[in-house]
Subunit: 306 residues, 2 copies
Amino acid sequence: MDLVVVGSVGLDDVETPFGKRERALGGSANFFSLAASFFTRVGFVGVIGTDYPAEGVELLKSRNVDVRGLEQVEGPTFRWAGKYGYDLNQRETLLTELGVFGDFSPTLPEDYATAKYLFLGNIHPALQLDVLDQAKGAEFIAMDTMNFWIEGTPDALKQVLGRVHALLINDSEARELTGESNIVKAALAIEQMGPHLIVIKRGEYGALIYQKGQFFFAPAFPLEDVVDPTGAGDCFAGGFMGYIARHDDTSWDALCQATIAGSTMASYSVEKFSVDRLVDLDPAAIAQRAERFRQLTDFSPLRPLD
Amino acid sequence: MDLVVVGSVGLDDVETPFGKRERALGGSANFFSLAASFFTRVGFVGVIGTDYPAEGVELLKSRNVDVRGLEQVEGPTFRWAGKYGYDLNQRETLLTELGVFGDFSPTLPEDYATAKYLFLGNIHPALQLDVLDQAKGAEFIAMDTMNFWIEGTPDALKQVLGRVHALLINDSEARELTGESNIVKAALAIEQMGPHLIVIKRGEYGALIYQKGQFFFAPAFPLEDVVDPTGAGDCFAGGFMGYIARHDDTSWDALCQATIAGSTMASYSVEKFSVDRLVDLDPAAIAQRAERFRQLTDFSPLRPLD
């Protein structure tokens, strides 16, 4: 096992201008592991209730995701309901019911604990710390977080930040975390909190990574039809970490490639509801879109001015 | 004369979180022509009042801008006052006084009318049409516009759109013009209105160009200190059109390079108030930043998945 993810598993009710889905497979660990599964074998740590459809677990297995870390316990699965507005950039959360996720205490199977690459999905910082204590073999740890923890549990969050190598975060949350409106200053401020790699997700504007004075930018893929943005950030993280783990390479060059891998998975994810687009993807399509990403920003050096 | 610009010339009061300037040189034609002057000789069409500082005109001359199309008439120069909030993305217009710009009737000197490249700055569409009628030699015409004309004079604007080759526009205005929230759909809708090249300016998120099914994306340069965003879009346009006119090349490859040239000029422009940063720039600095733009998005092809 090279890559482990700990995160939420849920059943989502999602409404966008393009349709509506109920009890669709969701949660950060689902999106992450399905996206990462195209690159490497993933160990999945999460919890589901007795109401979780068996097909959801079968889907993970069919993608060769290791589900020994996925517990099923008595009670309802985590539920989330949200509605996206016309421009898909704003979403309203209509419902959050923790269910069995409320008592989640992640336990890493022994060979998960020795995995070199670890992703801490967007869960309570106390749980993230708990996982960090178990993950004795982790050499490259990335995490996600959100405004809820930035506002609600800042001290625990700062402890986690002090122990990880990379933070993946939305731009608005990077601004909130640091109090810096300028995104360069925000990245520098996060660097002071611990992570040496900062990955800022900007939705329809793409993503950027920062490490030791260097920046790399990836645009979002220009899609005419975005059906459901739910999970795009988790798919980005899955592609990003999956690529790194597959090649066991955290050089700057590999991190830039991983950003494109992540952007590619995110761009596919939003084309259908829930995890549907990840299910019918194949490696050739991923390689093809990654190459189209190259063309999107590729240009010949400018001709001289004098 | 290869490149002509028609636009506003103003005296701006600008307040940002980083300071305040009064009666600073501003207006789309000023920013445009100073940025373009690093690439080619520009013919300047605009109007100033008797209160306009002589240094403003001298500055243009010192940059080899042709000011025979700049009229000075009795009355006050166009005035604009604005205030930027903490994140610099929102600005409030505090004052707009047209002054002599209210009776502006652009007249192109004879050799301007035969220029191959023409930029119609963000002015009343009726004036843009008037210029189009005079610019008999123009083979590549680009224009800018804004929400004020989209809402106020949509019919005249559509006439202009039907007669130009390129539209440079902010993303929010592209959405407003087309009623399309998705930026790909917005570009396709604008294409139907006339321009075959659509350049969408996204402020801190960079710029993208679209032509016949092809996209190119440029990030904004990651600056730690953005002092004054006023005129950034006009500097982008100046660098973009200046590059094209200098090389007399509208191939896709040249348009991508021109997008970087524009992004480079915009990125410098915002480092100081008004046109101050354009004054102390040199070609070596422009070449250097353009090369840094390359590094921002450059990556090796992804390693194979199977």
